[in-house]
């Protein structure tokens, strides 16, 4: 397969013929795909998307607006990978398709500027993230939010739904201040780990990060939060902005290489999934490729790590009926299914109930809820319907993005349920 025009090569992993050809168009993935379930269109199914990619690679289909639309509408949730018996690595294929789109397809001016701003000028810079967060905090606290919601201005701008998805900026100091600190293990040290703190999470989920450190130290881990670490680059990689993702990866590889750890831990499934695949951002000839392989071998989701290590901290009883929404990038991206369930069951008093269709995305999917708001909200509504039926008091999940989405869902659908990260519940059981 030769690309139609000789343009600058796309850096990093380029799928081979076999990567596409393993798809035997059997269709077994269709009913697992959230967008196929919504619209029942082949073009928005994994099988159809793969076929479109093949046709584009072969020059039989233009990488024009129709192709771009269907690739944009993919949640990159990777449920199709779990479903696919042929082992098609869909994640690789879609990220490459998006990188090709980013290179070849002229998006409308506003969208181009917005993408450039977010992926190249905002996320790589902690200070700018902090500034944006202060603005948001001001908006939320000053009464401006109240005014905007009440006045109908948001509705007028078509932003009413999206605005609800803004993270509630924590009142605590931003987590940035923790960078460079070391938190000693309580009791005998069982492991020494590095904590990957995330970017937006440092302003929107400072409390979650603090809770994660408390749970880790309480279970005998010394936690180092290396200074100089940056955004993982997941959002940029998913959007096809590979140069930005590669720059971030290089920086992080350098930072985490300086010291040796038993594991590098994240509490964000979305970040973890990309961090575990850093090598894909580099071709095998580049020196970073080998570094990335060493790095990703130590990368662990916090639930995965704790479940393997085994909980040693004493837990008090939390009488609570709890259900678990699988974070796509933990279940489908990292194939971690049992660990979070194991941890929840380990908390005395917790009554665990499975959520029907938990393996289907809640619609959060990185920035999907902002870029494809309508589809995202439809998926969320369906999710809330199933969640309500479980009669669980708390919906637990494993990724900040999912937390935001589910919290918005609980508010919109008035289910009165609490939405928590697995470690937040563990943290609560500590004291």
């Amino acid at each position: 397969m030769t690309p139609p025009a000789p343009r600058a090569a796309i850096p990093g992993l380029v799928p081979a013929y076999e990567d596409y050809a393993h798809c035997t168009h059997c269709g077994l993935c269709l009913n697992h795909c959230p967008t196929y379930r919504l619209w029942k269109l082949e073009a928005d199914s994994p099988r159809g998307r793969i076929r479109q990619m093949i046709l584009v690679e072969q020059g039989e289909l233009a990488a024009g607006p129709i192709f771009v639309q269907h690739m944009d509408q993919c949640l990159d949730c990777r449920a199709c990978e779990t479903a696919c018996p042929a082992g098609v690595e869909y994640g690789k294929l879609i990220e490459y398709a998006r990188a090709r789109i980013a290179r070849d397809y002229p998006r409308p001016l506003f969208s181009r500027l917005a993408r450039d701003f977010v992926y190249r000028r905002l996320l790589p810079f902690p200070r700018r993230i902090a500034a944006a967060a202060r603005l948001t905090r001001f908006y939320q606290r000053s009464g401006l939010q109240w005014l905007a919601r009440r006045s109908g201005a948001l509705r007028l701008l078509g932003l009413a739904e999206r605005e609800r998805l803004l993270p509630r900026m924590d009142d605590d100091p931003f987590f940035f201040e923790r960078l460079g600190q070391i938190f000693p293990a309580q009791g005998t040290r069982r492991a020494r780990v590095a904590f990957f703190a995330g970017c937006v999470a440092q302003v929107g989920f400072a409390r979650l990060n603090e809770a994660t450190i408390r749970v880790l130290t309480a279970n005998g881990c010394e936690v180092v939060v290396p200074d100089g670490q940056l955004c993982c680059g997941a959002l940029a990689a998913h959007a096809g902005v590979r140069d930005a993702a590669r720059d971030l990866a290089r920086r992080n590889l350098a930072v985490f290489q300086k010291d040796s750890f038993d594991a590098i831990i994240t509490n964000a499934a979305g970040c973890g999934s990309t961090l575990k695949e850093y090598a894909q951002l580099f071709s095998t000839e580049e020196p970073e490729h080998a570094q990335a392989l060493a790095f990703q071998a130590r990368m662990r989701d916090v639930t995965e790590f704790l479940a393997t290590l085994g909980l040693s901290a004493p837990l008090k009883s939390l009488p609570l009926r709890v259900t678990y929404q699988d974070s796509c990038h933990l279940l489908h991206g990292q194939k971690v299914k049992d660990a979070p369930r194991q941890l929840l069951r380990a908390i005395p008093g917790v009554e665990f109930v499975e959520l029907p269709y938990t393996e289907i995305c809640c619609g959060s999917a990185g920035v999907y809820n902002v870029t494809q708001t309508e589809a995202s909200l439809e998926l969320l509504a369906e999710k809330m319907r199933h969640a309500a039926k479980t009669r669980a008091q708390a919906i637990v999940t494993a990724n900040p993005g999912c937390l935001l989405q589910l919290r918005a869902g609980v508010e919109m659908h008035k289910t009165g349920q609490e939405v928590l990260h697995v470690v937040e519940l563990l943290d609560r059981a500590l004291r």
């Binding site: 050809a21 035997t24 697992h32 082949e42 159809g48 479903a83 042929a86």
Partner: protein
């Protein structure tokens, strides 16, 4: 013409329910099979009335009509061989009624097989026909293909679980046949329509039987050093009149790929395995499991493992049900065949298939419903090599011919479609085929409903198929 038809369809159904751009149509030229053909327009009806109106409209334009469920079919049944209007039933996906007392459910054709089980399992019920594609395929597609599955051995195929249908005839008329208790009087039209491969009528509603989960289930995995030992075990189990609920065979060398997907503990170094399930009341299950184990041991099984719990059994079945797909790991493409032979001929047939493969330069896997002699040889090939594909088709035909020679059949469950229609004369006399044609003509006189399927078109089959692959379908 086509543009006008499209506009009228859009007026009828609204814009979101009609696809006519080349970029979209190209995604409806395939299904789960190796065939290809492109429709001229694709529509997504939401109700029986819409289906009826679409049919009447298509009639005014003399356009061919073809139904489609999830497009997992393996004989090209859901492809628009002569172009025309394709009706995708996926959006007619509501479970209309569950009658717990009488163990019936009424569903729209687009309901996914396993979603029905998911909806009723809280009451200890399930929908018995379990094709390996059950998490994706639709009940409408199952009805049209009369789908079977591993548990067909004990519970029968789709037709044994369908008691009534609502269909739209080729003139647009809406008709109901059967009901919750089946066709009590008159012709068994439900039985006739099930398995008619979408050539007699479009199915818009289905009344199915629900089954109660058995009291006890045991899943056994028997591991053999050679294929012969495994097939002879099956012959002997049948001879002793032991009736397991399922009895599946998988070639040893295919298991590595399957194991990579499921991690169920399948051996990577065996000759073949049998996956056997026994069900019923607790005492009977224990006795049957014992009897099966004994037969396996007599035929040199190196290990007979009983799944300890539901989870382990589920994993084993997951391996079996995803086996065809897992073959995608071994070669860029594969061609799944479907033939039936008398069970007593299993050992010799498998030997013959291996030999045929060797002669033609193919590795042929065998993953199939051994208990009822329903073979699924899988030919691994590279689609980039046209000559190789042609050779694969020829090998496939030889295998099927051999099945028929032994007194078997051309298809056990995947249907004839546009894959095996040219081979029908191997099994049926001209008089047989003529009778079937007269039945078709009674329902589908103009031949515009799913044309080019089931009946031979008179051209050599390999040749027709190669052309379909190369050119796609002719325009409307």
């Amino acid at each position: 013409m086509l543009a006008r038809l499209t506009r009228e369809l859009e007026a009828l159904l609204g814009p979101g329910a009609v696809l006519a751009r080349a970029e979209d149509l190209i995604l409806y030229e395939y299904d789960g099979s190796v065939e290809k053909a492109r429709p001229d327009v694709v529509v997504f009806p939401r109700s029986t009335e819409e289906v009826s109106r679409i049919v009447r409209l298509a009639n005014r334009y003399n356009a061919p009509i073809v139904g489609r469920g999830a497009g997992t079919g393996l004989s090209g049944g859901a492809l628009a061989r002569s172009g025309g209007v394709m009706l995708v039933f996926a959006r007619m996906d509501r479970i209309l009624e569950v009658d717990y007392e009488n163990l019936r459910a009424v569903v729209q054709p687009g309901v996914v097989n396993f979603d029905l089980t998911r909806a009723v399992e809280h009451a200890g019920l399930y929908y018995a026909p379990d094709p390996s594609s059950q998490k994706a395929c639709t009940i409408g597609g199952n009805v049209s293909e009369n789908a079977g599955g591993p548990h067909t051995l004990a519970y029968g195929v789709t037709t044994n679980h369908v008691t009534g249908l609502e269909v739209v005839l080729t003139d647009g008329e809406i008709v109901r046949v059967g009901g919750k208790s089946g066709d009590a009087l008159g012709y068994d039209l439900t039985g006739l329509l099930v398995g008619s491969e979408g050539t007699l009528a479009l199915v818009t509603e289905i009344t199915v039987r629900l089954s109660r989960k058995p009291e006890a289930v045991k899943t056994l995995l028997a591991v053999f050093e050679s294929v012969d030992d495994a097939t002879e075990t099956v012959v002997e189990i049948t001879a002793r009149a032991i009736t397991p609920a399922a009895c599946e065979m998988m070639d040893g060398w295919t298991l590595a790929a399957i194991e990579e997907y499921v991690h169920a503990g399948f051996p990577r170094d065996s000759g073949a395995v049998l996956l056997i399930e026994v069900e019923g009341i607790v005492e009977a299950v224990a006795a049957q499991a014992e009897a099966v184990t004994e037969v396996c041991r007599q035929h040199q099984a190196r290990e007979v493992r009983v799944a300890r719990d539901a989870r382990e059994s589920e994993l084993l079945w997951k391996g079996r049900k995803n086996a065809f797909g897992a073959m995608g790991r071994l070669a860029p493409s594969n061609y799944v065949l479907d033939g039936v032979i008398p069970r007593s001929r299993l050992p010799q047939t498998l030997r013959h298939i291996t030999a045929l493969g060797r002669e033609n330069g193919f590795r042929i896997g065998n993953i199939f419903h051994a208990g009822d002699g329903n073979l699924h040889p899988i030919i691994l090939y590279d689609p980039r090599d046209a000559a190789e594909f042609e050779r694969a088709v020829r090998t496939a035909n030889e295998i099927l011919r051999y099945c028929v020679e032994l007194g078997g059949a051309l298809t056990g469950e995947h249907g004839v479609g546009m894959e095996k229609n040219e081979l029908m004369p191997l099994l049926f006399s001209e008089a047989d085929l003529e009778l079937m044609r007269r039945v078709r003509d009674a329902f589908n006189p103009a031949g515009r409903l799913n044309p080019g399927k089931v009946f031979p078109t008179g051209k050599g089959c390999g040749e027709v198929r190669m052309k379909a692959q190369a050119e796609g379908a002719p325009p409307l």
